[in-house]
């Protein structure tokens, strides 16, 4: 069953590469909706017992111990939902784009990306995971480099080399683990059973950390991120920030922590510290930004830093919080970048100082933006709240001072988010914003779907916890050494 979910986007993608004409976007939307439908169907027949369901295992390369092994547990299911819900929204959000050349390739690449992402989350074999991890990189690179803005080639190449560099280290870590497995296999359980000594664990742990920290990105590996987010086309940025960075977080939870639990005692603290530095650092920069896309980019670093800090504390609450926060952050950041895109399209600028008074002329946009923004600030009853709360609780019980410092990020987040909202929406209209038209039906649809999700998950977070809680605590149990 799982394999069908994997193949659906791939088939649609290959089909789209082949066709020409304007039907491409409709087919892409249809394809992603079918995938979503299938994903929901899987959810409905899925046994929530914390074990892997839809488990499939085929021998792929026998000599090297590589199997095609996939399975879905609670954590994976949340990640699949995130991917497959956001992909149709991202595709829909591109419908009002002015005709770009090679439309069908654009959508084909998005669906190829979806294929890779689903694969990353379902893989239960080291090399398979690595392959999907790299497969996602190729389409997103093409999306950003073909349809991106100024300086796109330089920026995207930096992004590619940076992340590729990190993932090669992950490959090294995987090979190292593999060589120590009892049965010479890349299967998740075999890798988990690998017998490593202290320095070996440290090596695996650090090499995985490098790959995941670059992808997320955690300070100080974030330097590729703001440029890439600003330069990429909006849909590319949404894919990157909404789904792709969760690959890093997911990697930490599934692959890094359980594989080398003893290394945590040696350097885990440092990772918490680095992550917390990153939160404060990114928040402070975000406060000073006038470019709205850059500001959201830095806010993303801050939010992800919080998730990272929570994970590295190895607290049960923080891990549960991280899971729901991944989903919430995906929804919020996609919404925020879409708002930025709407404003940029109309005003032809990203500069906050040139905006103002948009709420007067575009009330619908103002309301929807408000809901998504509040979700990002983690106001109670929005989707950001349960995650941030649990993360902070975890960090606090790990170390009160760490918790206190990380806690300031909530305030800082409110500062920069409200500043964006104030500068853009409130105040007097100026020459630029006087003729600002309110959201179109399409934009309204996309934003309200996101806003509704913000509220639903905010009101009833158990919707997500019910799916993920058991599996996440299972994984956490493996990550803690007795």
């Amino acid at each position: 069953m799982g394999i069908i979910l994997l193949l659906l986007p791939l088939l649609f993608s290959l089909f789209l590469f082949g066709i020409k004409g304007k039907t491409a976007k409709t087919i892409a939307l249809l394809g992603s909706l079918i995938t979503l439908g299938f994903n929901l169907f899987l959810l409905s027949i899925w046994k929530q017992d914390g074990a892997y369901d839809f488990y499939e295992n085929y021998t792929w390369i026998n000599d090297l111990g590589i199997n095609f092994c996939i399975g879905v547990d609670g954590l994976t299911m949340v990640m699949l939902l995130l991917t497959n819900i956001l992909t149709p929204i991202i595709i829909l959000s591109s419908f009002n784009n002015t005709e770009k050349p090679y439309q069908h390739t654009f959508y084909a690449l998005i669906l190829l990306m979806q294929f890779g992402l689903n694969g990353v989350f379902m893989s239960l074999d080291g090399i398979l995971f690595y392959m999907f991890w790299e497969i996602t990189l190729i389409p997103i690179w093409f999306i950003c480099a073909i349809w991106g803005g100024e300086n796109r080639i330089k920026v995207t190449l930096k992004f590619f080399i940076y992340t590729f560099f990190g993932s090669l280290f992950m490959l090294l870590g995987l090979i190292y683990l593999y060589l120590h497995t009892p049965d010479h296999s890349f299967n998740y359980n075999s890798l988990y059973a690998a017998q490593l000594d202290g320095s070996g664990m440290l090596f695996v742990y650090s090499s995985f950390f490098l790959a995941f920290a670059i992808k997320m990105p955690i300070f100080p590996f974030h330097t590729w991120q703001p440029d890439t987010y600003t330069t990429s086309p909006t849909q590319g940025t949404m894919l990157l920030s909404g789904i792709m960075l969760k690959m890093g977080i997911y990697g930490v939870m599934r692959w890094m922590m359980p594989m080398a639990p003893e290394a945590w005692a040696q350097i885990g603290n440092w990772f918490v510290i680095v992550s917390i530095i990153g939160i404060i650092y990114a928040s402070l920069i975000a406060i000073r930004q006038n470019n709205i896309k850059r500001l959201f980019a830095y806010s993303s670093i801050a939010h992800v830093g919080m998730i990272g800090a929570g994970l590295f504390t190895l607290q049960a609450d923080a891990w549960q919080g991280a899971t729901i926060q991944m989903l919430a952050h995906g929804i919020n950041i996609v919404g925020l970048f879409y708002v930025a895109d709407i404003i940029e399209k109309r005003l032809k600028t990203n500069d906050l100082t040139a905006m103002g008074g948009i709420a007067k002329v575009a009330p619908k946009l103002a309301v929807l933006f408000m809901i998504i923004m509040l979700g990002s600030v983690a106001v109670p009853l929005t989707n950001g709240f349960p995650g941030e709360f649990l993360l902070l609780k975890g960090i606090f019980s790990f170390h009160p001072i760490a918790g206190a410092i990380a806690g300031t990020s909530i305030i800082l987040c409110a500062v920069y988010m409200l500043r964006v909202y104030q500068l853009s929406m409130f105040g007097e209209t100026n020459e630029n914003t006087k003729n600002f038209t309110d959201v179109s039906i399409l934009e309204f649809t996309v934003l309200s779907i996101l806003a509704v999700m913000v509220l639903i998950i905010g009101f009833y977070p158990n919707l997500i916890f019910d799916i993920s809680a058991t599996s996440v605590s299972n994984i956490l149990m493996h990550s803690i050494t007795q």
Partner: protein, 460 residues
């Protein structure tokens, strides 16, 4: 063994074909020779030359690499139909020379004896000196031929000197006998050390590893592109496989004495070549540096001192590398012939004008860079995994270099897909043969990338 006879026989036929005005049939005859040789390589008739096994043994190792060489040559021959179209006088000679070079390659691969290795290297090299300088009216080609010949002759001298030292140290030229003497510790240690170092120098010259690589960018650049691709694939494969076989058959026991030197050469090749490649303006020079860096990666297999795993690793790596190189040169040759330029700008906007070629080139570059689902990934993976135990720092250097190499391989992809061509006036025409080779190589790269075991299981 039968393969050599077939290749040599058809080589002579091709020489005569030029005289008897059979120019149209030259390429088909060449292809026929390769195909027949391929059949006899896979289905070797044993027992025909059993009296000479102490000189020449066409074992699975030799066969596997012979197949790689033959397949690369086959594709290059097909390209020749277009590339050598206007060459009326020497077409047959050039095909014949490539066939003779192949005989040398097979001799090297099957050699059981130092003298046979030497003989093979010479048979391989001499036709190549001629081919490098075959474009007589082009100064660069002349320069390439001259340089290659002088440097090659020098390296051969060193090789022979090294062999003499080994002979002096052990009193043997038989590979297995040398090994026995080393095991029994009945050899002259000083002579042996000098001999091994001279052999390393000579072979590193042949596989163009730093710091013995200085000839290769000039030679690659000046040589007519068709023969550059022959050099980059067949010569590299044969020379490296022989290097590997010679050292891992004879000198494994005293590995500690030479692996450090080879490790340094490997590190130097990777770093120097990758950093220099970034600054290249010409595609051919870039490919030359890329080939140096791949020699560096391959040396990881040599120092792992593990014959069984190592041979699979280099077989996979060399077939991946050969396929990608042939694919890249296919596209490049076609563009170069019609525009007459070899800088990166010629690729601008190729994605919009010739999709098939651009896709092929993209796959080739991704494979050379080692991205998953292309053959290059498993090549790299295999090499890293056999070297990771003893040579972790070296593997990390290799990884850093893989990341650097993205920069210059992707320069081509960037030019093809993200830049617009400034010169729309030149319409590129694709001949069906080029398209065919492009499709075949792309499919081969992807198939090996998805199912690498087919390459290995074919022979072992």
């Amino acid at each position: 063994m039968v393969a050599i006879i077939i290749l040599a026989f058809f080589g002579v036929i091709l020489l005569f074909a030029g005289i008897f005005d059979m120019r149209k049939s030259i390429m088909p005859i060449g292809v026929l020779a390769i195909v027949m040789a391929l059949v006899f390589t896979i289905q070797d008739i044993d027992g025909l030359f059993n009296d000479y096994t102490n000189m020449f043994l066409f074992d699975t190792f030799a066969r596997a690499f012979t197949v790689v060489c033959l397949l690369s040559t086959l594709l290059i021959f097909l390209l020749g139909a277009e590339f050598l179209k206007d060459d009326i006088h020497h077409k047959g000679d050039k095909y014949a020379l490539m066939l003779f070079a192949l005989c040398g390659a097979i001799t090297m691969l099957s050699a059981q004896n130092l003298l046979m290795i030497f003989l093979g290297i010479e048979i391989l090299s001499i036709p190549l000196y001629i081919l490098a300088g075959s474009q007589k009216d082009d100064m660069h080609s002349n320069e390439a031929g001259m340089k290659y010949f002088l440097m090659g002759a020098f390296a051969t001298g060193i090789l022979l000197f090294g062999m003499a030292m080994i002979y002096g140290a052990t009193g043997q030229i038989q590979l297995s006998a040398i090994w026995t003497n080393i095991i029994a510790d009945s050899y002259n240690h000083n002579l042996m050390n000098v001999g091994i170092i001279l052999l390393i120098v000579a072979f590193c010259f042949k596989i163009s590893a730093a710091p013995f690589h200085f000839w290769s960018p000039d030679v690659y650049d000046g040589t007519p592109t068709l023969f550059t691709s022959f050099m980059a694939t067949v010569v590299k494969t044969a020379a490296f496989a022989t290097f590997f076989k010679l050292f891992l058959t004879c000198f494994t026991e005293i590995g500690s004495q030479w692996t450090n030197i080879v490790a340094m050469i490997a590190a130097l090749s990777m770093i120097l070549a990758n950093v220099t490649a970034i600054y290249q303006k010409s595609f051919k020079r870039m490919m030359a540096y890329s080939s140096i860096s791949h020699a560096g990666y391959l040396l990881l297999a040599l120092i792992s001192l593990n014959f069984k795993e190592g041979q699979s690793a280099i077989l996979l790596y060399l077939s991946a590398y050969s396929m990608a190189t042939v694919a890249a040169f296919t596209v490049f040759t076609m563009i170069q012939q019609q525009t007459g330029r070899s800088d990166f700008e010629v690729f601008n906007g190729l994605g919009k004008r010739k999709r098939l070629l651009a896709v092929t080139m993209t796959i080739a570059m991704l494979s050379l860079a080692g991205i998953p689902l292309t053959a290059g990934f498993f090549g790299k993976y295999y090499l890293f995994s056999i070297a990771i135990h003893q040579y972790m720092p070296l593997v990390i250097i290799a990884i850093l270099n893989s990341a650097i190499s993205i920069y210059y391989y992707f320069k081509v992809i960037v030019a093809m897909w993200f830049k617009d061509s400034e010169n729309h006036a030149i319409t590129l025409e694709t001949s069906p043969i080029y398209s065919m080779v492009a499709i075949v190589t792309s499919i081969a790269i992807i198939v090996i990338g998805v199912l690498p075991s087919i390459v290995i299981e074919l022979f072992w």
